[in-house]
Structures are given as C-alpha cells and as structure tokens.
Symmetry: C2
Subunit: 111 residues, 2 copies
C-alpha cells in the first residue's frame, strides 16, 4: 500500500516543499512572470501566451489562486487576474529561508 507520508515531516519542511511544488511547472512560472511584467491586473485569455489549451491554463491559474499567489475579480463577462504582492513576498521569504539553511560556504568534501 502506498499512502502519502509527507505528513510525517516537520511543518517547516512541508511548507517549504509545498511552495517549491507550486512553482514546479513552467506554465505556472510563465503566468506569474507575465502578470508581473504587465505590472497590473490583466484581463483576457492568458492561454494565448502559453503553448497550452485554455482549459489547461485555467487549471494552472486555479492552482496559483488556491495557493494565494494570484487573485481574480470579475468585471462583466471578463475576469481580471492580478498577482498578490503580499503573498509573493511571503513566499520569497520562505524559499530564501530554505536556501540560506543550505549553508555550503565552508563545506568539507574530500572525495
């Protein structure tokens, strides 16, 4: 039997790994970058910017929304997508935290 054993790790490690996972697909990175470059809320079919179908892109958008990295609000027929700057900053800090913990300044590796 195979059950998910990820629960059995430290809360901190789980959080860090979860955020890495959210960023582990080029489509999601692209969406974030696109919204960042636009520097404001964007409306319209984001799938035209990526080499994927609309439904698939929407699914990635949904994931990013559930993770809190982007926000959407309805405007008539359309939906406007935005980054959530606060959350982005938060996640950056979490990732930095892990990278910093991997201190290899004076690592001894005699091989």
């Amino acid at each position: 039997m195979v059950q998910s054993k990820t629960d059995l790790f430290d809360e901190e490690l789980k959080t860090q790994a979860a955020w890495f996972k959210v960023l582990a697909h080029p489509a999601r990175l692209k969406i974030l970058q696109y919204l960042s470059e636009a520097n404001s809320c964007i409306t319209g079919d984001l799938s035209e910017e990526l080499p994927l179908g609309r439904t698939t892109v929407n699914q990635h958008i949904k994931e990013l929304k559930e993770a809190g990295l982007i926000q959407g609000h309805i405007e008539g027929v359309r939906t406007k997508y935005c980054l959530n700057p606060k959350k982005i900053t938060e996640v950056k800090a979490i990732i930095e935290q892990f990278l910093t913990s991997l201190n290899v300044g004076d690592y001894e590796c005699k091989s």
Copy 2:
C-alpha cells in the same frame, strides 16, 4: 492523448521549473539539510533520519545525485554522501534569478 508539453516553453523557464521540482519533496529537503548540517561527508543509513523506508530514501538520494546536488563515493562496503557545494551555489543562483524576476515592489492591484 496527453503528452508532455513542457518542451514548448523557454529553456530558462524549463530549467527553473525543473529545479523547483527537484526541491518539491520534504524528504529531499531534509536530506540536503542533514548533509549540510553535518558539514562533511556522511556514511550510514540516512533513512534512520527520515520517516520513510530505506528503499524510498535511496530513491530520493538517487534523484538528488542525478540532479547533481549530492555526490557519493564508495568506501569499502559503505557509501559516503556529500553535498556538491558548487552545484548548490549554482541552483541557488537560478532560483534567485526567478524570484528576482517576480518584481512586485510597485505592483498595481486595484481590486
């Protein structure tokens, strides 16, 4: 039909996403941290440090090895595991690069 369409993205995005993926599991983060804290090569059964079976841990070690983040060299019956400081530094830079590209300093989000 579902084929992997990840090829269709920029080389840079693919690389960044791939590195996030390598780090997207708490077991792999834990292994890296453990080796980092030890601050030198380690021998013995790493699985005793994690809530997973030996084979599973070995698989995660294998992934990290294939990604180049850790090295192993045989010493009699045992294998000594090390971080690869050079690669770690390299990956840190790649991740920083993406995080920096997500510039939200003056993000306009009127919602």
